[in-house]
């Protein structure tokens, strides 16, 4: 009996393919957009060949000094080119320079391109360090014998914005699992199928399973397809694939249980959708679904309360470090949600049935 309902419901859900498409398409769009927005923030700095222009005005620096500077610059992968005329701003744009230095009497001016500020800073640093080293050696400073206490603690390596959002948005949309079942649950109510269940003497628990299992299966498949799509299209890296897959499936199952519970309590699909979306959005908001959790300054307690935070964190850390302390807590959260929500859903279903009989 139960197996038949599950099979039938899966079949019905798959027919409303537009809803399922949402699972697949929406995350892909969001991943593309968000990873672009956060690209420079999360990008790792790479050593690049830097070219900068310079001009000497007045007698501030001697020829020997410039020569020495160019030599040292060359050693540090910075090419200095002399431009005797022209507006620095235009020269930067026209010649794709990362910066421009004008040496004057007692000062020098560094022009930095705002578009590539980090490279401009390298040039600024280089000139500054050059002068400092010159005066330091004049002072007789000996840096070779100096010792500095440097420690290398473990740290979380930088995760690429594409990987981060590629993982996080999949989870976020997985949490909207109820959408996949919305249509058939509505129709079930509309065409009074539930009365027929009653005649068939289907227990509340079985009726719940008849909703939960197909929903979890269809939503998981949709989510996994979306994940595969982002891997193929965008090259998102998932760390430990079997473990990550298990977390994703469990998270969708938790979302399904949560959705069915709300539906059983409210018995109103619109209210269910609104409540689910609001709750999921709030959890996502604190859990790093939009703004990277590393950057956001929400209180830790709110983050820790959000199951999505634990799932996100477990998956992203698996992706960039290969292991995570949050795997256990994410299992705990999803498992807990599945059990508690299932229980409440069955109880709510029972009360409703009792009231009607």
């Amino acid at each position: 009996m139960n197996r038949y309902i599950i099979k039938n419901n899966i079949k019905l859900m798959c027919r409303s393919w537009v809803n399922i498409l949402l699972f697949v398409i929406m995350p892909v769009i969001l991943v593309v957009c968000l990873s672009s927005a956060f690209d420079s923030l999360m990008k790792k700095y790479d050593d690049a060949e830097i070219t900068a222009g310079y001009r000497v005005e007045g007698d501030g620096v001697t020829d020997e000094m410039i020569e020495a500077m160019c030599e040292v610059a060359e050693e540090n992968d910075i090419t200095l080119e002399e431009y005797t005329t022209g507006d620095p701003e235009e020269l930067i744009k026209k010649n794709e320079l990362s910066g421009f230095i004008i040496f004057e009497e007692d000062t020098y001016t560094v022009y930095e391109d705002k578009e590539a500020a980090e490279l401009g800073k390298v040039i600024e640093y280089f000139v500054n360090a050059f002068y400092e080293n010159v005066t330091a050696s004049a002072m007789g400073v000996d840096t070779d014998s100096a010792k500095l206490a440097v420690e290398h603690p473990d740290f979380k390596p930088a995760i690429d914005s594409k990987d981060y959002y590629g993982i996080v948005e999949i989870i976020y949309f997985g949490w909207c699992a109820i959408v996949a079942g919305a249509g058939i649950f509505m129709n079930e109510k509309k065409y009074k199928i539930r009365k027929r269940y009653q005649v068939a003497n289907l227990s509340s628990f079985n009726e719940y399973l008849g909703k939960f299992i197909p929903l979890a299966i269809v939503a998981s498949v949709g989510t996994v397809v979306a994940a595969i799509l982002t891997v193929v299209l965008l090259g998102v890296h998932w760390g430990n694939i079997p473990l990550s897959l298990l977390i994703v499936v469990l998270s969708v199952a938790a979302a399904s249980a949560f959705g069915v519970m709300i539906y059983n309590i409210t018995d109103n699909m619109i209210a269910t959708i609104i409540i689910c979306f609001t709750v999921v959005w709030i959890m996502g908001f604190f859990g790093g679904a939009f703004e990277t959790y590393l950057f956001s300054s929400h209180p830790m307690i709110l983050k820790n309360l959000s199951p999505i935070y634990h799932i996100n964190r477990a998956l992203t850390e698996l992706s960039c470090m290969g292991s995570s302390d949050f795997v256990n807590s994410s299992f705990l959260y999803t498992g807990g949600i599945i059990v508690v929500c299932s229980l409440l859903a069955v109880i709510a279903g029972k009360i409703r049935k009792g009231g009607r009989a």
Partner: protein
Amino acid sequence: MKTLIKMSMKLLVRTKIIWLFIVFMPILSTLLLKGNTHYTAFVEEDELVVELDSADEKVAYYGANGEYIVKVYDASNTELSNYLLDRLGNSGLFTICRADISEKEVTDEFIKDRIEFDAYEDRMGSALYIPADFDEKMLEGKMDEALTMYVLSDDSRTDALENELTLQLSRIDTAKDYIVEADSEAEEIVENLKSVDDMTPEKEVTAVAGSGNNLTQEQSDQKAQMGYAFSFLTLGFVFAGFFVANGAIKEQKNGVFTRVSLSKTNVLTYFASKFVTVFLVSVLMTGVVAVCSLMIDMNDVGMSRPVFVLIIFMMGLIFSSLSMFMGIMMNDVFGASVATFTLWCMSSLFSGSYFPLDSASKAIKVISALMPQKWFLQGTEMIFVGDNKAYGMLICITVAYLAVILSLGGIGLKVRRSEEWGES
């Protein structure tokens, strides 16, 4: 027209669940807004050394343009340590964020905890710990005990920081030997070194292309707060419009719409009546928001309460009309709810309400310009700096968005209607 509006309102008021949302959503939003008290996302720094309010403050956003961030735990805060940090900041490559912990009892445990937090919960190039006995250790020549550097990234600029630190510490070490007198040594070292620094050519930095906004730090915070307020407080309006749409969908399905058309009521009038309903619901919700806003300290938002409520109302109206439009167009409860919610979600994201989009790609910026929140944020910025043109601009924007939504809605309804006639 009047009857139509009356009817819709009556039906809406009878739906119990909408009351829950009209009252509950603004309260929830306000609580969320109040819960978020600290924002770092919009800070733009020009100072050499950024002073952090506390050791807990996150520094990741200071590196929004790829800067190398050094978070400094300064338990010493003497002239010598300040000099060192100034020199590091002055070098140009590093963004120094200093947390003054000289007043605190600093234990090894504390530093260990902080570094672990920095390594896993924040992002930075390196962290520095300057212990309280920094001056003494430097004067004793024990450079390797004077401070500790914690490497927290695999950034190649870490080497430059190490070199710079070594250089500056060696300079202090060398300067120390020049001084014969034993009293007030640290100050004298700093003075000596500063006179040497004066001999090097002075540096000037000019950023080419683009300019930052000219908001003060406080106003930047307020702008961030407004961004959050926009997104939180409009969520309720999105759902309100959706309830109106739900009524319209039902009317179409139950043939009410056909009967309304038969009474020679124009489709546009019908649509307009729905809009007026949305308008009334929005006014109602704004009332609740106004009451809720008593919980918010208006100093955090940086404008007077009536203006704040007015702005929220205009934004809310745009979004509730939009969700109504989507609902009527899609003629499907779920499709519409999902679509509107997604739309709202995306527009909050792309308008830059949560985080700055300055460093995003061109395409994203174009998308961002289409989002109402983006213009409202711009409007609030103008209000902050006392530009009265902002009000006109905001009203124009609201009217423009509404005009687009309403005309699209009216036309769409007509087109769909004739299609359906063809089918039947």
